[in-house]
């Protein structure tokens, strides 16, 4: 067993790198554990066309901006390159290929068991990510389906689906964008939507939605911000109910704050829905060998079903005593500060309208200040 260190950071994505860089520059000894062989694993494995939905000026980690030649919304590859450059710049050297099995607190120390041994430290920062575990859904009859069923995590690009009929289940940002990608790839695509969701264009009158959230909406009382944004959405998006997308009864900010349900940040999907290219259908009820029976009782033929049903942080399986620090949905109750268990911090498990990377950068500063004894 290694001698105990000051802090163990788990996960070398943006959150883990930001904390490690902050600790390193304060001279605080730490160990950064990463289960994959690279920094930024999630980003490397996202679908190819992904771009940040937030602007680069408000999406950088502490101490280093995106390069000047990168566009307003950095691409997946540009984010990966940025994370690599960030790790180099702050001399962050994670222990790669060391996945955490379980973390527990014993005699005032955190014991972190990995595939290779046990590490001990006074403090533990969990930065394993919002997207650690795909939320798999199983439908009746799925085993007999002769087509392909895959989760969005396995999706890289729509190219293999040219000429195929594909049902995309779930209309979060991923579902909306993958449906767009599939349509562009020459597939016949429909979206199946399980529950109503707000739609916010990525840019409203040329202003990024993130900038609106940062400087206007997040500074207003929620009820007022909801009313204001609904008025704006009436003008720029209009009524989508005729296309099968009714609006939720609560306002968009209430949904984010109280349910953690983020709106669809639209980058072009809705224009295709309105032109009849992407029909919106009721959710699947069961599979048949050649298709899906939807909730309206109609069977429709599909060659592939893509489950864009989201992710789960999967913290229960990593952390002993998780129930003391997680809420009923499995997300940390306290974010960016010490949790109910001493020395335990969470970072990167929420996705506010103001942008996840922006939030990570801000909270990482708080955590490193707390741990660095500033």
């Amino acid at each position: 067993m290694d001698p105990a260190t000051h802090t163990i950071v788990v996960g070398a994505g943006p959150a883990g790198l930001a904390v490690a860089a902050g600790l390193g520059s304060r001279g605080v000894p730490y160990t950064l554990l990463e289960r994959s062989e690279d920094v930024g694993w999630s980003w490397r494995n996202h679908y190819e066309r992904l771009h940040l939905h937030t602007v680069k000026q408000f999406s950088s980690l502490p101490g280093m901006r995106f390069p000047e030649h990168v566009g307003l919304y950095p691409s997946r590859d540009e984010v990966v390159a940025y994370l690599e450059a960030y790790a180099r710049r702050f001399k962050v050297t994670p222990r790669l290929g060391e996945g955490v099995q379980r973390a527990r607190r014993e005699h005032g120390l955190w014991h972190v068991e990995t595939d290779r041994g046990t590490h001990r430290a006074k403090n533990l920062v969990l930065a394993t990510g919002y997207n650690r575990v795909p939320r798999e859904v199983r439908w009746p009859g799925q085993e007999a389906f002769q087509g392909t069923v895959l989760h969005s995590r396995e999706f890289r690009s729509g190219r293999p689906f040219q000429g195929k009929r594909v049902l995309v289940v779930g209309m979060g940002n991923t579902g909306g964008e993958l449906a767009l990608d599939l349509w562009e790839s020459g597939a016949t695509v429909a979206l199946a939507v399980r529950s109503p969701r707000h739609v916010v264009p990525r840019d409203v009158y040329g202003i990024p939605a993130q900038v609106n959230s940062l400087f206007v909406l997040s500074r207003l009382p929620i009820a007022l911000a909801d009313r204001l944004s609904l008025r704006l959405l009436d003008r720029v998006v209009g009524d989508l109910a005729p296309y099968g997308l009714p609006r939720p009864s609560e306002g968009p900010l209430t949904q984010v704050v109280e349910r953690g349900r983020i709106p669809l940040i639209d980058i072009g999907t809705i224009a295709l829905v309105k032109q009849g290219k992407l029909p919106v259908l009721p959710p699947p009820e069961r599979f048949t060998p050649t298709g899906v029976v939807h909730a309206d009782g109609v069977e429709r033929p599909w060659d592939a079903v893509l489950a864009a049903t989201g992710y789960h942080p999967g913290l229960e399986e990593l952390l002993e005593g998780a129930s003391q620090v997680l809420n009923e949905r499995g997300y940390p109750r306290v974010h960016g500060a010490e949790s109910a268990l001493p020395g335990l911090y969470f970072l990167g498990f929420r996705n506010p309208l103001t942008g996840q990377l922006h939030d990570i950068a801000r909270e990482a500063r708080r955590i490193t200040a707390a741990l660095g004894g500033a």
Binding site: R49, H51, V55, Q57, P67, E68, H69, G71, L72, Y73, P74, S75, R159, Q162, G163, W183, E184, S185, G186, A187, T188, G206, I267, G268, A271, L272, K274, Q275, G276, K277
Partner: protein, 328 residues
């Protein structure tokens, strides 16, 4: 796949308003009209007595023929006011409106939509220009830099640098990529300052040509010759080559800039307008030169070719196989 199986940009969105508009795409005369939130596209010829439908009107989402008042829905289903039992039908084409253009292709095709990555770039402009030259000959002009010192006002390289210019061609089954790097031609001083292009920078013109439909996407940017560092300004240009007839080609050009308008005074709307004017000028110069060719035949056999013509040779079989669908 045949030509019309690919998505072609037919009109700028703002060119299609309440009245129907006639266009020629891949040799076919078509009429486009607005019907609610979508766009209808039919052959520009009434199935009844052959009238040009683009001279008609749009009423309640239907295209009305000016000759006998027969009307057509976007799906081609027709109605005759005088013969209600008649069920005329026009062969509708599929349309989509994206990137500020109306695109058309044959119904039932599963070709890919020609996406090029301009996410987060801002639009400088779109332009349409017909060139009196066949598709291949027009594409040739747009896929070599050897003509730039002699033909263009600002774009490209110095004549004395041509011989030492780096020009790399890479080919894949479905695309041809060309990378050019060499010293930037000096801009007139005030323009250089306005664009903030360093005086001793290398200009990089890096493009890929695709064949479903035929289009070329250009990345144009500058790098510091000493440090290799990229200058923040860059242009992303997509040029689509639509065959109007065997003799004429329509260029549909989309110009984007990487730097958003509000991050720099240099990327102001004024500069956007100026850049748009430059692109217009350079495209006009290309079109004029192509219109003056003595020999417009598309074959390269028997021509003396230079080192910049490698990509041109690679284009021919791909246009035939991927775009025109000729058997290999």
């Amino acid at each position: 796949m045949a030509e019309l199986d690919h998505w072609h940009p037919a009109l700028k969105s703002e060119e299609l308003r309440a009245r129907p508009v006639g266009v020629t795409v891949a040799g076919r005369e078509l009429v486009l009209f607005r019907a609610g939130g979508s766009v209808g596209c039919l052959p520009d010829r009434c199935p009844h007595r052959g009238m040009r439908l683009s001279l008609g009107t749009t009423e309640a989402g239907r295209l009305v023929c000016p000759y006998h008042g027969w009307s057509y829905a976007p799906d081609g289903q027709g109605r005759s006011p005088g013969t209600p039992t008649a069920k005329p039908c026009a062969e509708a084409l599929e349309t989509v409106e994206r990137d500020g253009a109306v695109w058309v292709r044959r119904q039932g095709s599963s070709s890919r939509f020609p996406r090029w990555d301009h996410d987060g770039c801002y639009e400088v402009g779109r332009l349409r220009k017909t060139v009196h030259a066949p598709l291949e000959v027009t594409l040739d002009n747009f896929t070599e830099v050897e003509h730039t010192p002699f033909l263009h006002a600002f774009l490209g390289y110095n004549p004395e640098d041509l011989a030492s210019l780096e020009c790399r061609v890479t080919t894949e089954d479905d695309r041809v990529t060309v990378f050019n790097q060499g010293p930037q031609r000096p801009f007139p001083a005030p323009l250089g300052a306005l664009y903030g292009v360093p005086r001793d920078a290398d200009f990089i013109d890096h493009w890929t040509t695709f064949f479903s439909p035929v289009y070329t996407v250009y990345d144009q940017y500058w790098v510091d010759r000493e440090t290799g560092e990229r200058h923040p300004d860059a242009l992303k240009i997509a040029v689509f080559f639509n065959p109007v007839s065997p003799e004429d080609t329509e260029l549909f050009v989309f110009v984007h800039a990487v730097r958003p308008r509000w991050t720099s005074w240099r990327a102001s709307p004024l500069l956007g307008a100026l850049t748009r004017a430059f692109v217009h000028l350079e495209v006009m110069l290309d079109a004029r030169m192509l219109g003056r060719l003595a020999d417009r035949s598309t074959s390269l056999k028997g021509r003396s070719l230079g080192r910049f013509d490698k990509a041109l040779v690679a284009h021919r079989p791909r246009i035939d196989a991927l775009y025109r669908g000729a058997p290999r």
